[in-house]
Amino acid sequence: MGNTFNIYMTGVGGQGIGLLAELLARAVDHAGIAMKGCDTHGLAQRGGIVASHLRLGEGAHSPLVEPGTADLVVALERHEAIRGLRTMLSASGTLVWYDASWQPLPVRLRKAQPVEASEVLTEASGRGVAAVKVFLDGLDDPRKQNMVLAGELVARGLVPGVAMDHLRAALGDLLDGPALAENLALLERVGRGPQA
């Protein structure tokens, strides 16, 4: 795939993956990088899996990432992190996940064991891929978990060519008023990285 960079975002309907996907797509666009993207949602608003694909570079034609070729898997939820890792991440890719747990039905019916964070880490190290667990204590609104993830991606330089300026401009395209101020403050706080 040459000069392309593939991002696969996944989570549960209701977690705000649509905003995260639109934010990253616009940030990439603000960075002057050719991009194609596509949300995949059907019944997702009803607590199913929702995913979004984002492909960077002139060599990307389909907006959809081929299984096993994602350079970056971004998950908003733990069960979906391990699923995304297994099906989509390339052997040299990185998984970044927000460590929320929204137990799927078989877990709640006690027909399956819940996924623990340690299970995600074990699976990642077994495959020799990098995995980054993200969690922010005291977040006032779960719908801001996507901002925390976006900030982490920039702080760690995980999306080539995309910096905080691009994310800031992208967020300004999407929100205004108090929502913009609150989300931007959070994004900047996380995006400055652990050193700041």
Binding site: A25, G37, Q45, G48, S62, R86, A100, P104
Partner: protein, 627 residues
Amino acid sequence: MKDLGAILLEREPFSELVIGNTALVRAMVEGGVRVVTSYPGSPTPEIADAIRAIPKDDRPFYFEFSTNEKVALEVAFGAAINGHRSVVFFKSVGLNVAADSFVQLPLMRIPGGMVVVLGDDPGANSSQNEQDNRHYARMAGVPVLEPATAGEAYAMMLAALDLAGREETVIVVRMTTHVCHAKERVPFGAWRKAPLDPTPRFDPDSANYIPLAASVFALKRKAAARLERIREGFETSPFNRVTPGDGKRGIIVAGTARLSLADCLEGRAERPAILELGTVHPLPRALVRDFLAARGEVKILEELDPVLEGDIKSLAYDAGLHTRIIGKVDTEEFVGEYVPDKVRAILHATWPGLVAPPLPPPPAIGRKDLPARPPQLCPGCGHRSAFFAIKKALAPDDITVADIGCHTLGYLEPYRMGRVLLSMGHSTSTASGLSLHNASRKVLCFLGDSTFFHAGMPGIVNAVFNGHDVTLVIMENGTTAMTGHQDLPSAGRNFNGAAPRIGVRAALEGLGVTNIREVDTYKQAELTALVTAALAEPGFKAIIAKHPCMLKFTREARRKPGWKARRVEIAQGICTQARVCLESFACPSFQVGDGARVEVHEDLCIGDGSCKRTCPSGAIIDAAGGS
């Protein structure tokens, strides 16, 4: 924040990051469209979202959500024979509903020009099948343009509007799910705003508008001549492209399979020649013939059904070509979306040296199977209370019939209610059939309120008329929830503002239903009792089980000043771990905690309290002070 409405009305050329559905709306603006209609259905509702972003008074066209796809198509047709360029859009299976009128359109002189936008759904992402609507277009003789990207959706929509206007006819723009939702930066043209000419121009003497008996033949000849004229134009359409390759191999491809193919061949030195078709019906015969004639073997890479394949093979036969044409070779080529890995597998099977096979899934490291995540009714959903309560009124082998809507999800564990599904509005009639020669198993069916108005009423009239022994539960949540909360006739509001409220109960009474009960689904014990009573009575019974869509309600409540989050919690000292909340009521807010404790998920619970009455020990209580 970017103002989408203002962007869509830009006067000068510009570019913007948009999805395919939004790009279509800009084409409608630039293309002089005056009337747009629809019935909501994935993957198309975002077209209406973009239209809504334009303030009503600034909108250069009229828009409505009609009561079903056939009605929407007819409204658009009526406007177009009055001279107003019109567009109707709906999902794949919507064309089945609209088909009775759709197939007549090519027989009509449509002076305004009309475009039907279809949201086909290869991959069945949000539909009950993968039907390939090119069949309908072929049957009726309607030209089809098929974009693969948001940019092409814009360009082809503009071209379709222009062609429809020039030929005074109807054109289909066939979108598919991942064209509707594909996102990219699209360059747009200028918009020369023109005043609306309100003159009603319908002229019944300018053409025959009554296709009856022998008069059909003349209309059919005229339609065939037009289709041939359009085909000749397609021979030189910029939407069809030949990319020369090496050797004697070629590929003919259309739709998003074109993008998957380009991905598979990216960076490869050896490439077959490629003919990409954007005008998929009628087939540009000379272009295809010349492409075939220059090659020894040609693969037709075609998502879903072999529509192009049949046309191309017959063309090759007539032209006496000896090119080896490779169509679909196994049933898997008929199934599913032609995503990059699917195309890679097909190409590898066709010419093993051309591309590597798809990457095999890596071996499992941890547990083999991860828990599946089926979609769920939302926290607080009134349907959950309804399923929980109604199940108590039914014997285990009673028969329940589903319909289309959020409540279709009742078929999943743990409710297992609504066990057969055909189409919008089928439930009462399917239930009526199930009640015949059946003295032992009660038959109960579900129907949503939007679906009631869409296609549900004829089945109800039939059940009254023919005296079927069926209990109908109308799940009234006050909105078209599953497709994103569009208004419906009982809302007292349409897309453009206030509207007469057509109540479900009044409509039922008007249809002759005399046995009607009504209850809020949160009153679970009462609902159980009502269903028990209804099932014991003969004939047709209707129960209106209502509760507002809580997703919509909560979203709206959050925007109001002074809103405070609420939730419930488990009084752990009282909880006996009977697990009714988790395993029978099954609100997703209840989670399994350490040591099999029941916990309430703070991110999910909305504090509606519909769960409280389900707890045998009363351990579900309001959380102090909210969260």
